[in-house]
Each structure stands twice: as C-alpha cells, then as structure tokens.
Symmetry: C2
Subunit: 322 residues, 2 copies
C-alpha cells in the first residue's frame, strides 16, 4: 500500500479494534489516532482514562480480549483488599491496570501533559502508532437524563446505563484546546476515519474540541473523511448507543449515524460511509445523503477480522469514489 | 490483671511489637495507642501512613513478620507493572497494602478524618485496641542533614539513612491539634508507656503536638509514665536510631535515651525506665536520673517474647516503685 497519512477518531472497544486493524496493515508512523477523553474521571484520587487505555492496551497487544477493557492476564489483589475494607468496587480496576493510573497520576502532578504521558507509555509498550488524547484539558462528558445530569462513569458503570437519556454535553469543551499535533495530523491526512464508536459519547466529544471539526471541514489538499457505522441491524455491537438513539426519539440505524455526521455536500463531515451488509436496504438512503457507500461484514470478532475489515475500508477509502 | 487504662506512644516496628504484646495481655478496650504520623507522605497522590499501618496490620495479625512493614502473603503485581512503565519503585508498595492507601485517600477526600478512618479500618480488621494517629493535621518530620533538609521518607527510604543528620523538626507541628480522644485517654490512663521506638523521629513528633506533653506532665490523678529503651548495647534493634545519636555527638545508650525523656523529678516525663539486661552496668546512672529501673531481655523475636515482655513491663509498671 502506498504510504499515506491516516487519522482515526476513536472511542473505546469498537474504536480499538478498528485502529488495531489499521495499525497492522499501514506502514509504521502513517497512522495517528485521536482518542476521546470525555469518559476520563478521578477515582481514589487517580486519573483514569478508559478509552485511551483501551486503545493503547489493544495496540500493545496487552488488552483483555474478553472484557474489552483492562489488561489480559490480570490479577485482582488490590480489589480483593478493597472489598475487605468496604471500599467502592463499582469500577473494577485490575492490579496491572492500576499501575497505569498510578503512574499517569504521578506524572500529571509533575506537570507532564496527558499527551506526553501517553507517548511515553506507548514507547514503553512498544506501540509505534501515534496515539493522542483529544485534549490535555479536562473535558467531561455529562449525560442529561431523567435523573438529572450524570457524570459519564456514574451513568455508564455505576448506573449501568439505566437512566433514560435526553442529551449530552461536554463540560470544559468550549475552552479546551486540541492536544499538540492533532490539527497538523488532520491537515496532513489524506484519509480520516471515524471509527465504529458511539457517535454521542465517543466521537462527539472529540468533535466538540474547538478547531478539530473546522480543520476537518477545511482541508488544505485532497482529503477524504469516512465514518463506520457502530449500529448493525438496529443494534450496537457493544455499549448503549442504540439505547441512547431510542431514548432520544431517533431510530438506531446506519442511515441515522450517517445523518449524524452529515455529508460534505450538505455542510457535514463525510465523503463516504461504511456499514454492515445486514443494512444493505439502507444503501440508497445513505447514498442520497451525498455519500459514497461501502457495505461489508463490519463485525470484528477476531484479529483476522480486524485486518480484513481494515483492508476493505482502506481499499474503499483510496479508490475513486462514485 | 486488674483493668486499668493504659496509653502507649508508638512509632513503627518496635512500637508495633510492644503494643501487640500489651494488646494480648490487657483486657479489651483498656489500651489506647497514640501513633506517630510524622513519617506520613504522599506518593502517586495517595496518603501513606507507614507507622499507623504497621501498628494496625500487626494488631490485626496481617503484618509481614519478615519485613516489619507491609502485609503478609503480599503480592507485587502493581509494582511489576510500574517497573514496566518506568515508574518510581524506591518505596515498595504491595498490592494489598496499596488498597489501604487507596481507600484512605478516597475517604480523606470525602472529608473523613484520619483518626475516623483508622477506627473504621480497625473495625474491619477486627482490631479492638483503640489506635489513634497523633493528629489529624499534616505534620511532617524533616531531617536536618549535611545535604540540607530532607523529607523523612526521602531520608529514610530513598537515601537509606545515609546523609549525616544534625537534628529534626516537625513541620506543621506547632499549630497541629491532637486527634480527638487523645488528651482524654492520657488523662484517664494509669500507665503510659513510651514504646521502644526511635526517640528522635517516632516519639518526639508525638510529643511535639501541642497539649500532649503538657497533659502527660500534669496528670489529674495517680499516673506513671515509663519508657523502654530502643537502644540495646549501643545499637538499635532496627532503624537509624543509633546512627542518629552518633551523628549528633551523643553516645547511643540506654541512659541517654532515659536522659532524652527525663525524669519527673527533673521536670521530665518519666517515673521509670526499662532497658536490656545487656546494659545493666548503666543501672545506677539511670537510677541517678531519678528513675525506677527495670532490666530484662527486651528483644522481641517472637509473639511469645512480646507477651512475656509486655507482662514484665506491666508488672513493673503496676508494682510499688523504689
């Protein structure tokens, strides 16, 4: 494959699988991943960055393949002792995973930025993909729900996504700056891929950081932007995306994800859209939004699936568009 | 044994052994331990209280008998992962021990005081002895050395007690208050025991908290105060006490420990002094300070030693003084 610069926007599990596939087929240093940090929170005084860690652990080959979060070959000694003390265990932190939070917190307190720390950790873990948190500022996804405004992890983990949602906002987003290197990476990218992550709480926080969306919409040269539907046959592969769509009165469907980002023709972000073959009856509707379309099996169950899918996406993204 | 109220002043390992012996022979709820917190520090953003944990772990029967600090049956998964990340490992924290620091830090951030948290942890661990940190304020032992002022753990663990010391002070000590219950426990105590802990950096910080020393020196009724020498035959059983004495130009000896606290007759703290039979040639000199004396084997190698020694100390402390 010709070396071209690729930028991916990613949240947690779905994003990590997509990014892993891309990293495995693209030449070293051609992929930059911009990661959602709206889910980040403080627990026990430690800074926890769930999506960033899922992406890095996956790229490092040390992610837990069963859970989709945390590390493989994990132990739970600290958690066991926390139970003994009556401490909170709603957010399950494994021993090795905890070391990441401890050391990140220590370096942050020394004045090192989150993006620098992420680069340092990636160097240690042998990850050659450039992974950048969307911002070094503290931006928090807040879920507007029937129970009032909820911090993301309170909604997602503690309340198990039960409260009915009516919307989202990104506290601190208006004044945050993109991490160093993000805008340049976007400007240099020939291909931008919005991963099959939750549009509301994984991708929208990234797009809410001032400068990111406008840079995507005003490319310096030829640039194509693609999104991949996290919704397959009306359901999310993982997580609350479909439930959120329903609760906000929108049918969860590939076409509605495409509509969410919009086509360049209609002052939106996208040139093309990738969705599952199970949703092929939506092809015309998606094309009518002004988008090139590509349908295939988008489910990534194995590493081979990730590689196969990444190849298909890159072939579509680099081919002449209809 | 007749139920009498006993207060012990204690630092880390030597104090923990003494206190454990006392707890095993005294009726429930008759022993209150006031613990040095001058060694406490923040690491990875977590509050670590080495002496408090050593005392509580020992009383709970979960202390590591080999190291003198930390928990028994400990694992080191977090530390291993920290090494992987290039994090600092000069202060070795085991997995189970780490849970204590995490949960303490979390509760402190909720506004619960250190003395309340200590009580809560003791309840969980089944410790019926009343363990109270000397203060809920932040008081830090600073070591004056040829390398300048050093925070205690930097001196003790990171620099392995190498820099030559010239003195100590207790930052924040002047304005700190004793934890709730301390002054009342001292007033009600018939026997006060200064454990065989380092006089300079384990006991002096406690005595530096305004109100503790004056309350000890103005008992409401009959009260006797005893100290036990941590120096045996010119050496400390563990830790830098003897080295500190040398560096400050004082011979490390039982009599100089007795002199450090002073006798009531000479406006000091003590009624009596317990020291090792190996130092019996110092008996007259110690008695001449105005102290009742008791010599025995003060080394506590086993739990049986602790019990035997605690009995001897209590027998001496409750017998008519010469």
């Amino acid at each position: 494959m010709v070396e071209i610069k690729v930028v991916a926007l990613a949240g947690g599990v779905g994003g990590a699988k997509m990014v892993d596939g891309l990293a495995r087929i693209l030449p070293d240093h051609s992929l930059t991943v911009i990661v959602n940090t709206g889910d980040d929170f403080d627990h026990f005084g430690l800074r926890i960055c769930p999506d960033l860690d899922t992406i890095c652990y996956t790229l490092a080959g040390i992610a837990n393949p069963e859970t989709g979060w945390g590390r493989k070959e994990e132990t739970w000694k600290v958690l066991e002792a926390l139970v003994e003390l009556g401490g909170p265990t709603w957010f399950r932190i494994g021993d090795r995973d905890l070391a990441t939070h401890l050391e990140r917190t220590r370096r942050l307190a020394e004045g090192i930025t989150l993006s620098e720390i992420t680069q340092q950790f990636c160097d240690r873990w042998g990850v050659s993909t450039c992974v950048i948190p969307m911002t070094n500022a503290q931006v928090s996804t807040i879920v507007k729900s029937v129970e009032g405004d909820l911090a993301f992890q309170d909604y997602f983990v503690k309340r198990k996504c039960e409260p009915r949602v009516s919307g989202f906002y990104f506290k601190g987003g208006e004044t945050a700056e993109p991490s160093p290197g993000i805008l340049q990476a976007i400007r240099e990218a020939k291909i931008v891929i919005i991963c099959p992550s939750n549009p509301w709480v994984s991708i929208d926080p990234i797009l809410a950081i001032p400068g990111i969306k406008t840079t995507l919409m005003t490319p310096l040269g030829l640039q194509r932007v693609f999104a991949i539907s996290p919704i397959i046959a009306g359901a999310a592969v993982k997580g609350p995306a479909a439930k959120m769509y329903f609760e906000m009165g929108i049918e969860p469907s590939a076409v509605n994800v495409a509509q969410h980002y919009g086509s360049k023709r209609n002052q939106g972000l996208l040139d093309g859209f990738v969705f599952d073959s199970l949703d092929q009856d939506q092809t015309d509707e998606i094309a009518n939004l002004g988008l090139a379309t590509f349908k295939t099996n988008t489910l990534m169950k194995s590493v081979d699936d990730r590689i196969r899918f990444a190849r298909e996406v890159m072939d579509f993204a680099t081919a002449p568009l209809d």
